[in-house]
């Protein structure tokens, strides 16, 4: 994962609420066995309509997406995060995110920024013609005007994002504690340890 510290540039003023992962990337695109190239399938049903923000040359290559409540609800498909990444999106700003999507985004180095609706409204307005700036270190979103909005971020996620850490690698370093847990479990709950090994 690439380290993230600041993100600046134009933002798609999308704004829609309850954007589900089927909208971000439809099932037809899930047949791939790689992570690349999904940007072309992103927001297909939205882009089918003329005048949509994603095909507006004004926002081409924007690294930020601004959306409404409950962004990324529905399916667990990480393809949604991969599609955003492939479009060049490095941060999504919304009032709230679905649990699974925000985890998937984080694991791909996409920052999910939660801000209250009135601040989202203001950013939607600014984003029409101007860039936005996100600074992870100070946890702020700013604009070329005097706007300065602060956001919360999980300390562990912040640490991983800023240092580009691989979660699997980090957990593998905990092998000893995991092994200890497994040994204890084998003693107390042997019935749970067999899994697909059938009983003779």
């Amino acid at each position: 994962m690439e380290a993230v510290s600041t993100i600046e540039g134009r933002a798609y003023p999308f704004g829609a609420k309850n954007v589900d992962t089927d909208v971000i990337i439809s099932a037809e695109w899930l047949k791939t066995i790689t992570r690349e190239g999904l940007g072309q399938g992103a927001f297909e049903s939205v882009r089918a309509k003329p005048g949509n923000v994603f095909d507006d040359p004004e926002y081409a290559g924007a690294p930020v997406l601004i959306a409404g409540d409950n962004f990324g609800c529905g399916s667990s498909r990480e393809h949604a995060a991969w599609a955003l990444l492939d479009m060049g999106i490095k941060a999504v700003i919304a009032p709230s995110f679905s649990d699974i999507f925000s985890g998937n985004a984080f694991k791909n180095g996409i920052l999910t920024v939660e801000l209250p609706q009135d601040q989202i409204d203001r950013l939607m307005e600014v984003a029409k013609d101007h860039p936005v700036f996100i600074d992870l270190e100070s946890q702020t979103v700013t604009t070329p005007f005097q706007d300065r909005f602060t956001f919360d971020v999980d300390p562990f996620r912040k640490h991983c994002l800023m240092n580009g850490l691989d979660e699997v690698g980090l957990t593998l370093e905990q092998d000893a504690v995991i092994s200890k847990y497994e040994t204890g479990r084998q003693d107390k709950m042997a019935w749970l340890a067999k899994g697909t090994e059938t009983y003779a």
């Binding site: 099932a27 049903s45 990480e78 749970l192």
Partner: protein, 476 residues
């Protein structure tokens, strides 16, 4: 000092916490991992690239379901019919290669035990009460119906579980959905969960794990509980739970991968402790009166867009929230419906009975009961039944249920996810409606431009007979 009363969620979480860090993140041990062909190829590829291995291969079970065509898979000579779509074929081939390469038990597409992961897990006794279960699929919440803490994960987490048998997570908040009283005649578990989602909304459970409580859940069969917990994610909750009881224990006893002998006795003793303690506190609580639940259908493009079958299409202006007004207007445009239109006047051209929500034997029995001696209406062009697994299909055939469906004009298919998400050839044509027993009515979910009305199996059967959305109670 007596121990602090704990919720069922607390008990399962506590038993699986390997380590809790100062920042509140825990390493949670995962007991059971289900893998299918769509969300796993990139995880296996990452393991290969980093030279990592699978920590506990026996705790993962792989089965293809999303891509498989539901038309016959073997020719008359018993040879495998190749999948026509090269992308789908490639994804299936990847799982067929990855599972043995990493020492994981694989259920072949043509084996009688193949089916939708969330049907196969409980059916094989792989999913057990009190266990943690994950799968790269948001409907993993289903397994909460047997009392497991089960939730969907992304592909990076699939890789994490394969490599470490754990996940890094923060404890969720707990939410109680209490249902008081009993459901009326002709009202099913599916109607109840649709109603619940209508009440709490699609983000109502975000950040929470739901426990469904009350006499109605206690009276439910395992199949009905799986239906309820399946749709927890549609209410925003990553997991849903129902405390395991004798109904669950009876269901699991003797299943191929369920504990046997002394292990069974030990497991059973533990399972009996799995319930929220008296006085346990939930972060959030919602109470629903069962008597208010009617056979329910969706009118829009979000699972929260529900209405009783006797109701009408709502007027977008009737919603208090301006953004909901806008969303409702957009939904109605997509769905081709007008405010005030009676739901029972909405004609349907397609019927889909299947999916991890409603493809188990009880679901098929409920639909067949309505269809017995009846035929689908002439305007219904396409009606299919996709059993949840080969074993469900076999059981239904032994009971003669397949004959009832066929006589009613339904196609009797091979098991898989099918038209729930249309990754295989089973799609609803653009602009057409489908009364569907699946879980999502999102824009384009069943195919580009498809219009989905979520219903229970009995209501899907009633819609097939009437050629429009219909109240199963009025069919007599």
């Amino acid at each position: 000092m007596p121990n602090k009363p704990r919720t069922l969620y607390d008990k399962i979480w506590d038993a699986h916490e390997v380590e809790r860090r100062d920042d509140g993140t825990s390493i949670l041990y995962i007991d059971r991992h289900l893998v299918h062909e769509v969300t796993s190829p990139q995880a296996f590829e990452a393991l290969r690239m980093t030279g990592r291995t699978v920590r506990r291969p026996e705790l993962t079970l792989a089965v293809p379901d999303h891509n498989l065509p539901t038309t016959p898979r073997l020719d008359d000579a018993g040879n495998r019919i190749p999948i026509a779509d090269p992308m789908s074929a490639q994804q299936l081939a990847a799982l067929e290669r990855n599972a043995p390469d990493f020492g994981i038990r694989y259920i072949d597409a043509n084996h009688v035990t193949q089916g939708i992961v969330h049907v196969v897990g409980p059916e094989q006794g792989f999913s057990l009460p009190g266990s943690t279960i994950v799968c790269g699929d948001s409907h993993t919440a289903s397994h909460g119906g047997i009392g497991a803490l089960a939730f969907g994960i992304g592909t990076s987490e699939v890789e994490h579980v394969l490599a470490t048998q754990t996940l890094l997570l923060k404890r969720s908040k707990s939410m109680e959905v209490r249902v008081e009283g009993t459901l009326g005649e002709g009202v099913s578990a599916k109607d109840l969960i649709l109603h619940i989602i209508g009440v709490i909304g699609t983000a109502g459970g975000t950040g929470h794990v739901i426990e469904y409580r009350g006499p109605e859940f206690e009276a439910m069969s395992v199949e009905e509980r799986l239906t309820v917990c399946n749709m927890s994610i549609e209410g925003g909750a990553r997991a849903g739970l129902i405390a395991p009881d004798e109904t669950v224990f009876r269901y699991l006893k003797g299943r191929p991968l369920a504990p046997k002998g002394a292990d069974w006795d030990e497991a059973l003793a533990y399972w009996k402790t799995l319930h929220s303690d008296e006085g346990a506190v939930f972060n959030k609580s919602v109470t629903i009166q069962a008597s208010e639940v009617e056979p329910t259908v969706t009118w829009g493009t979000s699972p929260e867009d529900v209405v009783a079958i006797g109701g009408v299409v709502p007027d977008p202006a009737s919603f208090a929230d301006p953004s909901k007004q806008e969303a409702a207007a957009k939904s109605l445009e997509y769905m081709g419906l007008t405010p005030g239109q009676r739901m029972q006047d909405v004609p349907v051209e397609n019927i889909f009975i299947g999916s991890c929500t409603n493809s188990r034997i009880e679901d098929l029995r409920a639909a067949a009961k309505v269809l017995s001696g009846r035929k689908k209406a002439d305007n219904v062009k396409w009606a299919i039944v996709v059993p949840g697994s080969g074993l469900v299909k076999q059981m239904a055939e032994d009971e003669g249920i397949d004959a009832i469906f066929k006589a009613a004009g339904f196609e009797w298919r091979e098991p898989g996810c099918s038209a729930c998400l249309g990754m295989n050839p089973d799609k609803v044509p653009p602009g057409e409606r489908c009364a569907s027993t699946s879980n999502r009515n999102f824009v384009g979910r069943q195919g580009p431009g498809a219009r989905t009305h979520l219903v229970s199996p009995a209501m899907a059967a009633a819609a097939a007979v009437a050629g429009r959305l219909a109240d199963v109670r009025e069919l007599g």
